[in-house]
């Protein structure tokens, strides 16, 4: 998270990736890129060549009423505890479960589950569970809610992109993001927007278009082995070959903006952790004076917001430039949405590279706080006295994980982009030609990500 958190989450950062490892990583990226280019253009294997399989037993279990109700109840119960802690628990973010739960357990902890298993967010999404339960109860009482508006499909995911940006702004640009009371306000506002959207447009349309976390985990869930697919109006669970979920285009409007926010926000987090940036932020504070904290917070938030917006714009501009070049090379046979899914592995490894150590360190704090969520001396699970160990990860492990993740993500992105190109572009030669700009884009993203991690 950002500095200066008065009592912020963490207060511990990784050492910057050393220059030599940076250079090895960069060399690996370049060599693997050329190897990938030489070997990869054949047939759209991901799109057509590798069918998944059905898992009837698991499917019945996952979609059974008890399981559905159980997961929904878990989500709502956790939401209630966290919101109550934020509202009335200890005002010290280090003694309150809410900030650590929201930023670490929920936001980071769901990522490995969603990517390694499947998108579980719809099952535990408390806003969805409450809306559906309310709908059921209403039906039983003989009242049926018909959403008054139809969602204008031309906006696509744009509302979700805006809300994801707002979330990133809260987490990364706002200096008091870990303050439980401020977090409570943010949760209340987001809940209002979400339920209002569901009332106005219907639950599922809003989840598809305006619920930032649904869109986020839906996109990341494309990397997962298990997927839920609609078939004749019925939900089916499928086990698929890795990466095949990334075949195809992400055609809904607002998708480019959404993915740009995903990537750009993590890039800004990398920038904002550097000593250079914290010094800039400090000088903004100094110029305002130590006694006018509220004004300084506001100025710092604005300053951070500019950079956050700039990073998102940078990521989007780089993508659009690359796709534009690819389209020229393929004589107009490609559109911007064609390669969006090749950025998803990159978005994932950005998260891994930036937050893996933070998750390990701060996750232990969650373990402790789970026993005493309000900071009033409870010891529900006997873990209230657990002392987090910050020496579990050595800098070497963190560095190799960071650089390794970025290199792997880059190669996966290339594979997905190639698959798309040979699927869409008629001539194999043109398809190959269209991949040079994409290759350049991936190299820029990967080196940019590594460069940010190597900043002191």
């Amino acid at each position: 998270l950002t500095y200066p958190l008065a009592h912020g989450i963490g207060g511990i950062k990784d050492l910057p990736v050393p220059a030599w490892l940076f250079f090895y990583g960069a060399a690996a990226v370049l060599i693997l890129s050329f190897a990938a280019l030489a070997a990869l253009w054949r047939d759209p294997l991901l799109k057509h060549g590798l069918p998944g399989r059905e898992v009837p037993f698991l499917e019945r279990l996952v979609f059974s009423a008890p399981v559905r109700i159980l997961f929904g109840a878990i989500g709502v119960a956790l939401f209630a505890v966290v919101f109550a802690a934020a509202l009335v628990g200890d005002a010290d973010s280090g003694a309150n479960l809410a900030p650590t739960f929201v930023y670490v357990v929920f936001w980071l902890g769901l990522v490995p589950i969603v990517v390694l298993i499947g998108n579980v967010w719809p099952a535990v999404n408390p806003w969805r569970a409450v809306a559906r339960a309310a709908g059921r109860l209403g039906e039983r009482a003989g009242v049926r809610w018909e959403p008054p508006l139809e969602y204008p499909e031309r906006f696509g995911r744009l509302p979700a992109a805006v809300l994801l940006f707002a979330w990133a702004a809260l987490e990364l640009a706002y200096p008091n993001s870990a303050n439980p009371r401020h977090l409570a306000i943010a949760i209340a506002l987001y809940s209002l927007v979400t339920w209002f959207g569901m009332l106005a447009f219907g639950t599922e349309p809003w989840l598809r278009s305006g619920e930032a976390f649904s869109a986020y985990f839906d996109l990341l869930g494309r990397l997962a082995p298990f997927a839920v697919e609609e078939e004749d109006g019925r939900k089916r669970l499928r086990l698929r070959v890795p990466l095949t979920g990334l075949a195809g285009a992400e055609a809904r409007a607002g998708s480019v903006a959404f993915v740009a926010v995903m990537l750009g926000s993590v890039a800004f987090d990398g920038l904002s952790r550097s000593t250079w940036w914290t010094d800039r932020v400090l000088s903004v504070r100094d110029s305002i004076g130590a006694d006018r904290t509220a004004l300084a917070d506001l100025a710092v938030t604005g300053f951070n917001l500019l950079a956050l917006g700039g990073m998102v714009a940078l990521v989007a501009a780089a993508y659009l430039v690359a796709v534009d070049a690819a389209r020229s090379a393929a004589r107009g046979q490609l559109r911007p949405e064609d390669f969006l899914r090749s950025l998803l592995p990159i978005a994932l490894v950005y998260v891994v590279a930036h937050y893996f150590s933070f998750f390990v360190n701060q996750g232990q704090v969650a373990w402790r706080l789970a026993s005493d969520p309000f900071g009033n001396g409870w010891d529900l699970f006997g873990t209230a006295d657990y002392q987090p160990r910050y020496d579990l990860l050595t800098p070497n492990v963190v560095w190799y994980a960071q650089v390794g993740a970025l290199v792997v993500g880059h190669v996966l992105g290339l594979v997905v982009a190639h698959d798309r190109a040979v699927d869409v572009v008629r001539s194999r030669r043109l398809a190959a030609k269209s991949q040079y700009p994409l290759l350049a884009l991936m190299v820029v993203y990967t080196l940019g990500g590594m460069w940010l991690l190597s900043r002191g």
């Binding site: 500095y3 207060g11 130590a290 910050y390 800098p395």
Partner: protein, 158 residues
């Protein structure tokens, strides 16, 4: 090239300029920073070495040269009028070394070193002194707990 394409290229060019600006600015700053922090640690080590030298010269028989005892690395931070004096924001130490952090302040508060989770009271005329072995590598924030004022960061390098 379409009008939109041209606009995109223009944005890209602006972005590139911004990146270059960042690169050069950060390059310049880094060297400044390195010198200031270097200064802190070197003054610290020189004080300790002179101490060891003065004790050894008092003896008549020069003992066989022992491995120089690694004295603790010291760093001092002063807070005046609610702000950190000077520009000392990144203290560096090698992992395994003893480290002594002394904080002088004209206010009553607690000094908190994150990660190691060490706390010491500070008050006008009563500096906080935190002595510990820098066993965990990483970057740790040092702050005045009640005020939430960041005093600096400790970087423990392996």
């Amino acid at each position: 090239m379409s009008g939109r394409g041209r606009a995109v290229v223009a944005i890209g060019a602006v972005a590139a300029v911004v990146v270059l600006f960042f690169v050069f600015r950060s390059g310049g700053d880094e060297s400044d920073e390195a010198t200031t922090t270097e200064a802190v640690t070197t003054t610290a080590t020189t004080t300790t070495t002179t101490e060891t030298v003065s004790t050894t010269t008092g003896e008549t028989e020069p003992p066989p040269p022992p491995p120089p005892p690694a004295g603790p690395v010291r760093a001092r931070i002063t807070v005046r009028g609610g702000e950190v004096v000077g520009d000392r924001r990144l203290l560096k130490v090698e992992q395994g070394k003893q480290f002594v952090l002394i904080v002088n302040a004209d206010v009553s508060d607690h000094v908190h070193l994150h990660g190691y989770d060490l706390m010491a009271d500070v008050a006008p005329g009563k500096p906080a002194r935190i002595r510990f072995e820098a066993s965990i590598a990483g970057r740790f924030e040092i702050e005045l707990e009640d005020r939430g004022l960041l005093l600096g960061q400790l970087e423990v390098r392996p």
